[in-house]
Subunit: 223 residues, 2 copies
């Protein structure tokens, strides 16, 4: 058999929702590493959320996006997926070589991915209720951004940690977008804002932006 | 100079609270790797929470435990700390060699550390309010444990992923303790229960247990 290892698996499929910040992290990482992939949109709002249907629950028992079918496996959880990509596709590294810088990247990731995003995602805000959700989201984003800004004050160069784009940047940009959606005052976080602006024009980040997703509604005001 | 690298830094100091599940994860990892350390207790309840005082905010701007002073650096965020320990102290590995098993370990970690624990930690429950906090915690733990049990159904051997203890086990055991505190019915999760039981008698896990911490109140009923 002359099977080519690369072609023995079809193109990766990313289950994604245009506005999901966790899907967005993985889209950026895939783009930075120049891994071709197809998107299968999962609407988090249509018919009460397609992520809750039986078929998708088999893909991701957490009933959330993203999920990535790659190399014959289905992976879930965005930070785990980014680490898998890093370990199997070392091109364009998303973690620094230096062990202390790696710890700093993972620290920023964890502040965002455990300390902020889980508290202001759609499913939690539904539980919090319409009346209180804006104040709730602002509270947790503000608390987390104070810590992120403090971490960046000793780690940032052009990007979150030094002058190379890392997984931390893949997590920061979608979180800044969420902060704006909830009208968080971002003026106290000049380093966060500078890095976000720096990455705005990066092609990998631009292609991963919600407004450039196939499932983004055409009427989106800021498309 | 004949300075010994190991002795050039003092013994690591872990800022910890006896009942904090995030501190507990790091205590287990340190014990498994047989790294000697001193504990500096930070009470999350005394005087409105010692983690909010100015002095500690300099250690951890997220105003939470754990923080680890090691190798001349202060590290925060438990999963980032465990990865740092893994990368600097390879003895007694806490991640499998196989890349797909590593992804599974990180998937289980992320379900717990982003999908469950942040939603039921002390600071969030204070915001939820006394009246609703039990129902709130039960809801998110139940949702997460359904996904953890499903993940374990294909990954578990003696432990979360195969027959070697990993970082996933360091995260699972403290989360099961939290589930019991909030009276979650654990009968639907036989694999979680079996692994928790298996690890109960492990010396590294036993020494890290809240009831064996210097700051555990003597009147603790289940000590």
């Amino acid at each position: 058999m002359s099977t080519n290892v690369v072609s023995s698996h079809p193109k990766p499929i990313l289950y994604s929702y245009w506005r999901s910040s966790c899907s967005w992290r993985v889209r950026i990482a895939m783009n930075l590493k120049e891994i071709p992939y197809d998107i299968k949109p999962i609407s988090l709002i249509k018919s009460g959320g397609e992520q809750h249907c039986n078929e998708y629950r088999e893909v991701n028992p957490m009933e959330q996006v993203p999920a990535l079918q790659i190399d014959g496996h289905t992976l879930i959880e965005s930070v785990a997926i980014m680490h898998y990509l890093e370990e199997t596709r070392p091109q364009r590294p998303l973690l620094p070589q230096d062990v202390h810088k790696r710890a700093k990247v993972r620290e920023i990731i964890e502040i965002i991915c455990s300390g902020i995003q889980p508290l202001q995602n759609l499913i939690v805000l539904i539980h919090v209720g319409e009346e209180k959700k804006k104040e709730w989201a602002q509270h947790w984003i503000t608390r987390g951004f104070r810590a992120v800004e403090k971490a960046l004050s000793t780690s940032a160069g052009k990007y979150c940690v030094g002058d190379e784009i890392s997984m931390a940047d893949c997590c920061l940009v979608p979180q800044v977008f969420n902060a704006r959606r909830f009208h968080v005052d971002l003026r106290p976080y000049p380093i966060i804002l500078r890095i976000d602006r720096e990455l705005e024009s990066n092609p990998a980040f631009r292609a991963a932006h919600p407004s450039n997703q196939p499932d983004c509604p055409p009427e989106l005001p800021n498309k």
